[in-house]
């Protein structure tokens, strides 16, 4: 991938969310340093977890500070401690957390226990997600008959999901 500002290869990749709009920047080493991103300085564990392994403790360029509208936690604060401020922070910082979550758990879809209070829509979604995982396993093992059965189950559940009139 080329740098946004020149023809060199991009080595720093940034994703910013501003007012629900997501922007991506790709910069080569020189332009990154120009923007104030020092890729040679020591990397903290939280930085690596954030999937921004080449960005220093300095913040994103152009004076943007992203913070959670509900609890006020700012991105820098989270990077320091590795802990979020409130459940809504996940929505606020999702763009950057996605990579870290994927790196940690090799997955971004929950298929385990669901609280009793969650409605049937969530249960159906979870069932579908679990079946999809089973489908992948069956295909990997070349058990195509079993895979076809699972696929049919998934389609049946998807129909139930739609017919229950739920927004997904």
């Amino acid at each position: 991938m080329k740098c946004d500002l020149c023809d060199k290869e991009a080595v720093v990749h940034l994703t910013q969310v501003v007012d629900a709009e997501m922007k991506e920047y790709h910069l080569c080493e020189e332009h990154a340093q120009e923007q104030g991103i020092d890729i040679d300085s020591p990397i903290s564990i939280t930085d690596i977890l954030m999937g921004l392994g080449q960005q220093a403790k300095q913040s994103v360029p152009s004076g943007l500070t992203l913070s959670c509208p509900r609890c006020g936690m700012a991105r820098d604060e989270f990077r320091k401690t590795g802990r979020l401020g409130c459940p809504d922070c996940y929505k606020t910082f999702m763009a950057e957390l996605a990579a870290a979550v994927k790196a940690m758990h090799h997955s971004t879809q929950h298929i385990g226990k669901i609280p009793a209070r969650e409605g049937s829509q969530t249960r159906i979604k979870s069932k579908i997600a679990r079946l999809q995982k089973d489908l992948e396993t069956a295909v990997a093992r070349e058990e195509f008959e079993a895979a076809a059965k699972i696929r049919d189950e998934i389609n049946a559940f998807k129909e139930t999901e739609n017919s229950e009139g739920g927004a997904s």
Binding site: L49, C71, M73, T81, G82, R83, L84, G85, C86, P87, Y90, L97, A100, V101, M104, H105, H106, S107, T108, Q109, H110, I111, G112, K113, I114, P115, A116, R117, E118, Q121, T122, K125, S126, R130
Partner: protein
């Protein structure tokens, strides 16, 4: 409770579930008022079902430092909770098999502890308690990310399952490092219970899952159990090899441990842990028929500083503790 010799290496199994309330900031970011409110909400939830069970409850700001240490030594609260003040606390079942920490890293950290290799039972107990609490609380949950936690490393199931293992054979044959490395490569974490890495005092280790999202609770537990069984096999083989090739040395090692424990006037924690480890292995090898393994497991806890002081009924300095520790062990061994 009788357990077969092959279960000797497994001391206990634990399942911990992390939960947070929907409408409050996480404890590390929350104000005192919010934390107190969360505590009160959990108290209410307990009061509603406590009619069928009894849970003892303590706020951290009501406990003396020694009492907090005591709970920590018994693995009922974490070091982090022991440091917390207002709004943090713990609920503990009378038999100590279940504990619920409030306002530690997450609003609720529910723990279920069972002796031996019994992850399924530990999970069942944790689940039941989770369901009971949830009837009066609204958890933060997303269909995609699962239970929402203060740290993304706990997302999804919010479950940390772990098994405590006693691995003297592997330590003595110096094979514990490769085993730790192999286990670490498959998504599990291994750490010494006291001390770091392969220098674990008492040869006690804890293996736990690292991934909490994208697998079901059963899958995580099955995987952990499978690996634990393999590690136990390695441990048993190491012990067999020791007995085959160096039987007299093993006898000597255990005999000397017994001798020192039965006669020393001063004993540090570190030394006690290592000597008790030898005794525990001696029991497994059938060399010490008069000592019960569960008594030794209790002794592992009773020799810790806060327990000693509680038993003595007063605060003790380090030298006094070393004296008390030695006395406690001598009396245990000679039956007084």
């Amino acid at each position: 409770m009788e357990s077969s010799p092959s279960e000797g290496p497994v001391v206990s199994s634990r399942v911990r579930l992390a939960r947070n309330l929907l409408d409050a900031t996480f404890p590390g970011w929350a104000s005192k008022e919010v934390r107190n409110r969360v505590w009160n909400d959990v108290v209410l939830a307990f009061d509603t079902f406590e009619k069928s069970e009894t849970f003892l409850r303590w706020r951290m700001d009501e406990l003396e430092p020694l009492d907090r240490e005591l709970l920590f030594e018994r693995h009922l609260i974490s070091g982090e909770l022991a440091e917390r003040q207002e709004g943090s606390g713990v609920f503990i079942s009378e038999d100590e098999s279940r504990a619920v920490m409030v306002n530690e890293e997450d609003h609720i950290r529910l723990q279920s502890l069972q002796p031996g290799l019994s992850l399924q039972a530990a999970l069942a107990a944790a689940d039941a308690l989770d369901d009971a609490l949830e009837q009066n609380l609204s958890y933060a949950f997303s269909s995609k990310l699962g239970y929402l936690t203060a740290c993304p490393s706990n997302l999804g199931t919010g479950m940390r399952a772990s098994v405590m293992l006693h691995l003297p054979g592997l330590c003595l044959t110096e094979e514990v490092k490769p085993v730790i490395n192999a286990v670490s490569k498959i998504g599990l974490a291994v750490r010494g219970l006291w001390g770091e890495g392969s220098e674990a005092a008492g040869h006690m280790f804890q293996i736990s899952n690292q991934i909490t999202l994208g697998k079901t609770e059963s899958e995580i537990i099955e995987h952990l159990e499978q690996i634990v069984l393999e590690v136990i096999e390695h441990e048993k083989n190491a012990r067999l090899r020791l007995m085959d090739s160096q039987e007299i040395k093993v006898h000597d090692h255990i005999g000397r441990a017994y001798g020192v424990l039965a006669n020393a006037a001063l004993m540090t924690s570190g030394e006690a842990l290592d000597l008790l480890s030898a005794i525990r292995m001696g029991i497994d090898l059938g060399l010490l028929p008069d000592i019960k393994r569960q008594d030794i497991d209790q002794l592992f806890i009773r020799i810790h500083p806060a327990h000693l002081q509680k038993e003595a009924g007063e605060a003790l300095g380090p030298d006094e503790r070393d004296m008390k520790r030695a006395q406690l062990i001598r009396h245990f061994l000679d039956g007084s």
